[in-house]
Symmetry: C2
Subunit: 387 residues, 2 copies
Amino acid sequence: MPPIVIRTQPDDPTHATPSPTHSRQHSSEQLLPMKRICIVGAGNWGSAAAIIIAENVKKYDYYDDTVNMWVYEEIIDGKKLSEIINEQHINVKYLPDHNLPENIVAVPDLRDAAAGCNVFIFVIPHQFLIRTCKTLKGQIPDDSIAISLIKGIDFNEDGVILMSDIIKRELSIDVSVLSGANIANEIAAGKFCESTIGYNNSDNAIVFFELFNNRNFRISLIKDVEAVQVFGALKNVIALGAGFCDALNMGNNTKAALIRIGLLEMHRFASKYFGPIHDAAMVESCGLADLITTCMGGRNRRVSEAFARAGGKRSWEELEDEMLKGQKLQGTSTVLEVMKILKRDNCLNEFPFIKLIYQIAYEGAAIPTIVDFPDEHAGDALDAPDD
Amino acid sequence: MPPIVIRTQPDDPTHATPSPTHSRQHSSEQLLPMKRICIVGAGNWGSAAAIIIAENVKKYDYYDDTVNMWVYEEIIDGKKLSEIINEQHINVKYLPDHNLPENIVAVPDLRDAAAGCNVFIFVIPHQFLIRTCKTLKGQIPDDSIAISLIKGIDFNEDGVILMSDIIKRELSIDVSVLSGANIANEIAAGKFCESTIGYNNSDNAIVFFELFNNRNFRISLIKDVEAVQVFGALKNVIALGAGFCDALNMGNNTKAALIRIGLLEMHRFASKYFGPIHDAAMVESCGLADLITTCMGGRNRRVSEAFARAGGKRSWEELEDEMLKGQKLQGTSTVLEVMKILKRDNCLNEFPFIKLIYQIAYEGAAIPTIVDFPDEHAGDALDAPDD
């Protein structure tokens, strides 16, 4: 790849956090290799991300203007989706209402899409991740970097499996993650929203900040890949509790209390299984903001409210089929897996809210028990740390 | 006052936070003076607080069962309010739908109400606070303690004046504060909600925890009197921004982003003027939970949405008169005072959201500019600290 000249600032030891406002175009000159982007996935979210990235690469000399986007080929009205994208610059299947910049090139073969690239944006359904990584293995430069936009976490007999760990294990590269209070269609429409990038390596964090941040999609950075992903999965469990609360017409104050308690339990879970997590991670977009929006309008909240209003007469599966038209509830499967871990580790009592949600969702407990927190947790489990 | 025997645990040096679950009824015996409560105020919130306190004092030997409540005397249908309360055990004017426990004694003279008491609950409109304190001065034991449930903060030419500081200055006693996502009528009805007590002295914090915490009104403790009060006032400013967002139908993700950014600016303001504030204070009930509920359903949000929808044709005063029926908007007066301070200290750029709110509210800026955050704040002012 052609090297280009950019300027970097010397490290500032007073800043532990990389600051994207320290532009890499000032101070001492040095040679950096050109960066070329491959977006691995072309669904709704992948296409929205492509729009942002394809505009941002034009701002910097050291990104190749051409952005490859791997498209899992489909035939739409007799024509290949990749060809439609390259000719009409619209993803007619997954993001039909927005034009794609012309520097996005759809490529139906994954290895072709990856060829020459060293920055990978993973944005595919999680069940395809391992297979996709295996296809890329040995095909990409050793100093490649990646970011995962994939929703959800997996579980096995050992506990939680993070998408970032799968990519790292399969490809031996540094992996950042992005998650926050935003949905693809609103981002594509330029509505103001935020997201959080969790990183390990601050140089790579700055790359992804440059690729994603823009005036209406504001990125903040935290040095915590695990919290971002755990929060993104557990919010759907808390949203079940919010739905139960809504079915009881308990009012805004009770709901705000449950959102708060849920956030603390999300943080406690992440801290327990992924080392200490800074309190400040909770007030990131991937924490409280995504939790607020999921507890106000998301599908998990909506189906959960319907479950509660049906008074035990309708199953989760039945409501899911009827209300989500092929989409899946994430909160119900996640709470089942989380409970297995908490029971195994004998620490259910540290998570009274998740336990109450589970008992209503799967053990027939009455809906009003959603606020039956045990007395021994008063001023203890419900307490945020204050030192 | 009669001394009573209670048992206390030795201090546990591993706990910086006083844990109310360490009951004071175990371990080594010691004599503690009897505590006797005076609730200074008998409005809606004072009466709801009286219900909780009057039930809680019965659980502990070292509280006098009788709880005095100072009632500013009024004549209701020809009869004194204090007499109605003492005979019918209902505050017919301010909390008509709930019975008061019989161990609440209404006392119309403040000095009579305070006589023999050493624990004071201040719950009066803030404009009466100085006068009330001056009446009590010299009339109460030196080792008395107080808690303020008073909403809002004041301002003078030097900046912010906290209610706790007024009480402390006038009476020379330790003052805690209580604030959170709750309203008096819901508390009185036993709806589940939470609140935060901010304290300086951990022994006193435990007293107030015992007096307020119950199964449906959960208290957590933070060693920060200032943050609790500043958050309680600034939330009303942020709610104006939420109302503008609602008028634009911007959707849950944008609103969640603005709530999050608002919380960070509340924290930044408290930190700037009252020393460093722990990040964890933001996730207290007095922080994010109260902010959520204020931005979802409060009067400031509601009038602000109407202001925005009127497109500059109606003034705050006109809408306040029409929509609030004698109640006052707090967000508008607070943002005016806050802006004076930030301008004086030349740090407006650290508070881009408060500045945008002010510009729309008072300088005729267009409503959609509510998300016009300056570029230089990307990944900086909008960033939460992560270390």
